[in-house]
Symmetry: C2
Subunit: 211 residues, 2 copies
DNA sequence: GCAGGAATGTTAGAAGCATTCACATTGTCG
DNA sequence: CGACAATGTGAATGCTTCTAACATTCCTGC
């Protein structure tokens, strides 16, 4: 009944908000992505410890067992969120990488983009680094973007060539990662100074790389 | 009945292992600490996602509601674990700080101690940085140890005095924290090189501080 | 020493969550 | 059009956290 079946994907006309969405057809149409989005909402609102798969289902307007048609487990949904996070991060890094022609400044921009990503999308950032260890394939792509920038900077001799590019990239990643984590945790605890985290990243990276 | 009541604390004669401990008296005697220890065991074995307060209680050999006499909630037990972590970290940092007289080398030792702490006690480390934001009071003490070392190194002019000591300490903390996190997550993924994380820390900090 | 309250532990149970299974509805393809 | 795959539902299981009423033990003031 109800001739509303806009062919699979897209026939979902619930509200974006947090009220239990109303559906017009038996099938949702785009449940998988809706679940990921709903999960992100809840993660952003209540944090990981309060996260509940049942609540995601309720919010999306579907029975609590429906998610299992798309994800084997609650953790797999969170993994999908993390994967989306790696994609967004990858885009942020690539945008930063192409923002400037100077190889040294490029590294600073990328560091800033990393911490800004963490602050703009804490739900994604926390999810990415909470689950099981290991980068997804897209995580490796993100690292490659950084690695290329380091290689290029070494080629231009704007940073020392002393440790290998991989080691140096790892140091850079670790540094900005630490900055991102701590900036999320202790907003400005103890340091009244509210230097934007990206500035702090640029300063720290400058020192680290001898720029 | 049963004249075994070695006066409160200490009358607990369960095994250290993971089998449900047997108790001889009604009262446990040192339940609070036993719960923290049990929690650490489970965290080390199964990780945070599998952590269950009920299981801690079972393992310690006590009913599932007994923990609530000592902790208002499951999270409060985890907070106690985190607090213990900050104490251990503090000791590690102080030991490293007094290991050498050279102000510059001291900073490297402390960085190494930080990542070694994370690797030796991942249960504590993860718990400390998983819960609600903010350092406990003991966390601040740990930071103060680092801050003092930076101040001293600046006084000896072995590191630049350019950014304030607080900012520099924050950079150092962030850097070693990032190294610790990533070393726990990607053991040696992608880098066949298995440079001990402490060496990586020393190298990275040397570059950061211009040592 | 002993009464009685403060600590501490127990049992039973409410409410919520993850997961599964049998079943219902719908899209799709021959 | 008719079967089959995909997708969603309802009910049930066994876990979890947490509360409430009750039991035992410690300890303190008399």
């Amino acid at each position: 009944m109800m001739p509303a079946r806009t062919r699979g994907s897209g026939c979902y006309r619930g509200r974006m908000g947090s009220t239990p969405a109303t559906r017009t057809s038996y099938h949702h149409g785009a449940l998988r992505q809706a679940l990921v989005d709903g999960a992100r909402e809840i993660l952003a609102e209540r944090g990981h410890d309060q996260f509940s798969l049942n609540e995601v289902a309720r919010r999306v307007g579907v029975s609590t067992s429906a998610p299992y048609r798309h994800f084997r487990s609650r953790d797999e949904l969170l993994a999908a969120v993390a994967e989306q996070g790696y994609e967004v991060l990858h885009q942020c890094l690539e945008r930063a990488a192409t923002a400037t022609a100077d190889a040294g400044e490029r590294l600073l921009c990328m560091g800033g983009a990393y911490v800004r990503f963490a602050q703009d999308h804490p739900d994604l950032f926390v999810t990415m680094f909470r689950g099981q260890p290991g980068l997804g394939p897209v995580g490796h792509e993100s690292f490659d973007v950084l690695l290329s920038a380091v290689v290029e900077a070494q080629r231009c001799a704007v940073i020392p060539t002393a440790p290998s590019a991989e080691l140096m990239a790892r140091s850079v990643w670790a540094t900005v990662h630490g900055l991102a984590v701590l900036s999320l945790r202790q907003p400005h605890e103890r340091f009244g100074l509210d230097e934007p985290a990206e500035d702090l990243a640029a300063r720290t990276l400058s020192a680290l790389l001898g720029l």
